[in-house]
C-alpha cells in the first residue's frame, strides 16, 4: 500500500482530525512549509503622458532549513505618449501623422507590453552564511533582456555584522519598432547629414506605422519649408509606411550591463540597524535611445529648423554609495536611506528616502513615505542644438539626463488577512521639475518652457498570503 508522501499525510491527517473536532492543528516539526505569495497590482499615470498597468508577484516556496526558490512573474502594459526630445516652439510642428500645436511639447504616442520572469534560489551554506543565485528575462516589443545574478552573505560577530557581495550581468537587445536603428547625430529627413563626419544613411529612415519610431519622414518647418521625402525616400502618407524593403531583417543593437555590490549591515543597538553599500556598474554597447531627437534651432531667432537624432556614448561607468538605517521607536519604525550616485556621463545625484511605519496594532499599519531626488545634467545633455554649429560628439535632449529634482510623497495602509496574509493599498504622487528657462535659450526659445517637468500618480493594491 503506497500511502501519500509522509510529510503530506501527517499534516493532512492532523488537519482532518482537528477539523472534525473544530480545533486548530498544532505546528509540526517537519510539516511542509507553505508557499508564500506576495503580489501587487500597480496603476501608474503621468499627466498627459504615459500610463502603466503592472501586475507582479513573488512566489516563494521554502524547501526547509532556510533554502527557498522564488519565482517572480511580471506583466505590464505601457500606453500613452513620451517626449520625443524636441523642444516646444511658437509654431506647430508635425511628426508624421502627429501634429504638435504651438507651445506644446512634441510627444510620440506608443503602446507596449512587457513580460518578465525572475527566478532565484536561496541556499544556506552554513549556519552563518547563505548564497542567492538568480536569473531573469524580460520581453517587450522592441527590447529583450536576459540576466543572471548571484550574491553571498556572511554573518560575523555573533550575527551583529553581515558582509554581502553581489554580482549581476545582463545582455539586452534593442530592436526599434520601424526596423531601423537610426544613425546618431543625423539630421532627419535630409539625405545629406548635417555633420559631414557621420556617413550618410543609404536611404532616409522609413517607418512602419503610427507606432513607428518618433522620427518623422516629412516635416513642415516653421517657415513652411518641406524637408523630407528626399530623393530616395518614398514618402508615405497616413503613417502606414513599409518596413524598408520587404524581407530585410529588423536592425538591432545590444548592450551588456555588469553590476557589482559590496554591502555591510550592522546592528547598532537593540533598536537600530544600519546598512552601507558600495555599488559599481558598467554598461557597454548601444546606450542611445533610438526614438529620441534634438531640435535644431536657428542661431539667432531660435526657431526650430530641423531635428537630429540623439547619440550617447557606448560605455557608462556608474557608482553609488547607499546608506540605510532602520530605527525602532517604542511602537513605530523609521526607515531612512541616502544614496549618492555618480557616473562618467557627468551625472551626480542625491536621493533621500524616508518611510515612517505607524503601527496601529493587531498588524494594521499606516506608512507615509517622502522621497527627495536631485541630479545634475549629463555632460552631453542639450535642450536643443544650434543649426549649422559644429556638432558635439554626443548629444541627447532626454529630460532624464537633464538637471532636475523630484519629490515623491506616498501613503500605504495595510491590514492582516487571515492568519498569515496581508492586504494593502498604496498611493504615491511624484513631481519632477527642471530648468524651464536655461540661460542659453535663444530668441523664441525664451518664450517656451524648455523643461515642462512631469507629474505622476500611482495607485497600488497588494495581496500577500500563504498556501
Amino acid at each position: 500500500m503506497q500511502l501519500e508522501s509522509r510529510a503530506y499525510l501527517r499534516t493532512a491527517l492532523a488537519a482532518a482530525s482537528c477539523g472534525l473536532l473544530g480545533i486548530a492543528p498544532h505546528a509540526m516539526a517537519d510539516a511542509p512549509e507553505p508557499l508564500q505569495v506576495d503580489s501587487a497590482l500597480l496603476y501608474y499615470k503621468e499627466q498627459d503622458r504615459v500610463n502603466v498597468v503592472e501586475a507582479t508577484a513573488n512566489i516563494k516556496q521554502p524547501l526547509g532549513e532556510g533554502e527557498a526558490v522564488t519565482v517572480t512573474p511580471t506583466v505590464d502594459s505601457i500606453t500613452g505618449a513620451s517626449p520625443t526630445g524636441a523642444t516646444s516652439t511658437d509654431k506647430a510642428q508635425s511628426f508624421g501623422t502627429d501634429t504638435t500645436p504651438a507651445g506644446k511639447l512634441p510627444l510620440k504616442h506608443f503602446m507596449d507590453h512587457r513580460y518578465a520572469i525572475g527566478l532565484s534560489w536561496e541556499q544556506p551554506l552554513d549556519r552563518l552564511s547563505k548564497s542567492v543565485l538568480g536569473a531573469d528575462a524580460s520581453v517587450e516589443r522592441d527590447y529583450n533582456s536576459i540576466g543572471v545574478n548571484g550574491s553571498l552573505a556572511q554573518d560575523f560577530n555573533n550575527r551583529l555584522t553581515t558582509l554581502s557581495v553581489g554580482l549581476a550581468g545582463s545582455l539586452d537587445t534593442i530592436q526599434p519598432s520601424g526596423g531601423i536603428v537610426p544613425q546618431g547625430l543625423t539630421q532627419l529627413g535630409t539625405s545629406s547629414s548635417a555633420a559631414a563626419s557621420t556617413p550618410t544613411p543609404s536611404s532616409s529612415p522609413v517607418f512602419e506605422d503610427s507606432l513607428t519610431a518618433v522620427i518623422p519622414h516629412a516635416i513642415t518647418t516653421a517657415s513652411g519649408l518641406v524637408i523630407g521625402g528626399g530623393s530616395s525616400g518614398s514618402t508615405t502618407s497616413g503613417g502606414s509606411g513599409t518596413t524598408g524593403d520587404i524581407g530585410t531583417p529588423r536592425q538591432s543593437r545590444s548592450k551588456q550591463v555588469i553590476d557589482g555590490m559590496v554591502g555591510l549591515t550592522q546592528v547598532i543597538n537593540r533598536r537600530t540597524l544600519m546598512q552601507l553599500n558600495y555599488s559599481l556598474g558598467i554598461s557597454s554597447g548601444y546606450l542611445t535611445d533610438p526614438y529620441k531627437v534634438l531640435s535644431l534651432v536657428d542661431g539667432t531667432t531660435g526657431d526650430t529648423v530641423g531635428y537630429i537624432t540623439e547619440l550617447r556614448p557606448d560605455t557608462r561607468l556608474r557608482q553609488s554609495v547607499y546608506w540605510q538605517t532602520v530605527l525602532h521607536l517604542p511602537e513605530d519604525v523609521i526607515h531612512l536611506s541616502y544614496r549618492y550616485f555618480w557616473d562618467d556621463w557627468g551625472t551626480r545625484s542625491h536621493t533621500v528616502d524616508l518611510h515612517y511605519h505607524f503601527d496601529l496594532g493587531h498588524d494594521f499599519y499606516l506608512e507615509p513615505q517622502a522621497r527627495y531626488y536631485t541630479q545634475s545634467a549629463a555632460d552631453f545633455y542639450h535642450h536643443s542644438l544650434v543649426s549649422g554649429a559644429p556638432l558635439p560628439s554626443y548629444a541627447s535632449a532626454d529630460y532624464r539626463l537633464a538637471e532636475m529634482s523630484s519629490y515623491t510623497y506616498g501613503l500605504k495602509l495595510a491590514m492582516p488577512l487571515g492568519k498569515d496574509g496581508e492586504i494593502s493599498a498604496r498611493a504615491t504622487y511624484m513631481q519632477q521639475t527642471g530648468n524651464s528657462h536655461p540661460a542659453d535659450a535663444i530668441g523664441v526659445q525664451r518664450t517656451q518652457d524648455l523643461y515642462p517637468g512631469l507629474k505622476a500618480t500611482t495607485v497600488q493594491l497588494g495581496l500577500s498570503f500563504k498556501l
Partner: protein, 295 residues
C-alpha cells in the same frame, strides 16, 4: 456512575461503562463538586455518542442509515462531519481504511479458534464492501442495500476527544479521559507533573508490561487486540482486515499504540500502521510520532 477520591494519586476518578468498554476520567483537582460535575458531563456525552452511533441500538442514527436500503438519508451536522472524516481517511490510506468493511465480521470471528472462512464466503460478503460503492455528497448519503457503516475505528476516539473538549470548556483543570485504552490528556498536572500511562502487554493480557508513557498533553490510542485472532496450521490471523482482499493484513503487529495531538488522530495513525502490516514500524518512524509497536 461512580466518582471517588484517589488519595495517593491526589485526583478524583469517575468510572462507568460505555461503548462496550470500561471508561474513566481522572481529574487533577481537590474540588469534589467540580469533579462530580465533570464526571457527569463526560458520562452523559459518552452515552450520547454511544446511543447515536452504536450498531447494537435499533434507534441509533447508524442503524437508521444501515437500514436505509439504498434510499437517500440526510445526515445531521455531526454525522456529516464524521462521514467527511471517514472519507478523508479512506483517501489518505489509499482505500485501506474503509468504514463499510464492518460486514466482514459476518464471516470472520476472531475467537482464538481455527475457523478461517472459505474464500467464496469472504468474496460474497466483499460485494457489500467498498466506500466507492456508496454515494456521499454532504449532507446526503445513499447506502446500497446490504451495505453497513461501522464507526469502529473512529467512534470511541471521537468520544474521548469530545469529552475532553467539554471538560476544558468547563474548567481549566488537568483531566485524563480513558475509554478502553483510548486516552486524551488535557494538560500538565499541578506542579507541571505528567500523567503516567501504562501500556497493556498483549502477551499477558491485562498486565502493563511494555513500559509506561509520561505525558503532559495529547491523545493516545491503541490499535490491535491480542485477544482477537485466529490460529490455523500454525498461522496466526490478526483481526485487522484489508477491505480490498477481505483477508487479515499479513505481518501486522499484535498492537500499536500512538501518541498524537488528539485521540482521533492517534487512533487513525495506529490503524494506518496496522494496515501497513510488516512495514508498520517503518511507517510510524516516518511519522515522527511517539509510538509502541508490539509483535
Amino acid at each position: 456512575m461512580h466518582c471517588e477520591r484517589i488519595e495517593d494519586g491526589a485526583y478524583w476518578r469517575g468510572s462507568f461503562t460505555a461503548m462496550g468498554s470500561p471508561c474513566e476520567i481522572l481529574i487533577d483537582s481537590d474540588d469534589e463538586r467540580l469533579a462530580n460535575t465533570l464526571c457527569k458531563l463526560v458520562r452523559d456525552e459518552a452515552l450520547r455518542i454511544e446511543h447515536k452511533y452504536s450498531r447494537y441500538r435499533v434507534d441509533s442514527v447508524l442503524s437508521l442509515i444501515n437500514a436505509s436500503r439504498g434510499h437517500p438519508v440526510t445526515a445531521d451536522a455531526e454525522t456529516a462531519q464524521l462521514l467527511d472524516y471517514a472519507e478523508q481517511c479512506h483517501r489518505l490510506s489509499d482505500g485501506k481504511f474503509d468504514i463499510t468493511s464492518g460486514v466482514l465480521r459476518a464471516v470472520w470471528r476472531f475467537d482464538g479458534s481455527d475457523r478461517v472462512p472459505e474464500a467464496a464466503a469472504v468474496a460474497k460478503v466483499l460485494e457489500h464492501v467498498g466506500w466507492h460503492k456508496l454515494q456521499w455528497r454532504n449532507p446526503v448519503l445513499i447506502l446500497p442495500e446490504g451495505m453497513e457503516l461501522d464507526l469502529g475505528g473512529i467512534g470511541k476516539e471521537y468520544a474521548v476527544d469530545r469529552c475532553a473538549l467539554l471538560c476544558s470548556q468547563t474548567a481549566a483543570v488537568s483531566a485524563l479521559i480513558n475509554f478502553g485504552g483510548d486516552i486524551y490528556i488535557s494538560g500538565p498536572r499541578r506542579g507541571d507533573q505528567t500523567w503516567i500511562i501504562g501500556i497493556d502487554d498483549p502477551h499477558a493480557a491485562g498486565t502493563t508490561g511494555t513500559g509506561a508513557l509520561q505525558l503532559r498533553r495529547g491523545g493516545v490510542a491503541t490499535s490491535g487486540d491480542a485477544r482477537r485472532f485466529l490460529m490455523k496450521d500454525g498461522v496466526r490471523y490478526g483481526h485487522i482486515l484489508d477491505p480490498h482482499s477481505g483477508w487479515p493484513v499479513s505481518g501486522a503487529p499484535r498492537s500499536v499504540t500512538v501518541v498524537a495531538q488528539t485521540c482521533v488522530e492517534a487512533g487513525m495513525l495506529a490503524t494506518f500502521a496496522m494496515l501497513q502490516g510488516a512495514r508498520a514500524e517503518e511507517f510510524l518512524r516516518e511519522q515522527h510520532v511517539v509510538h509502541r509497536c508490539v509483535r
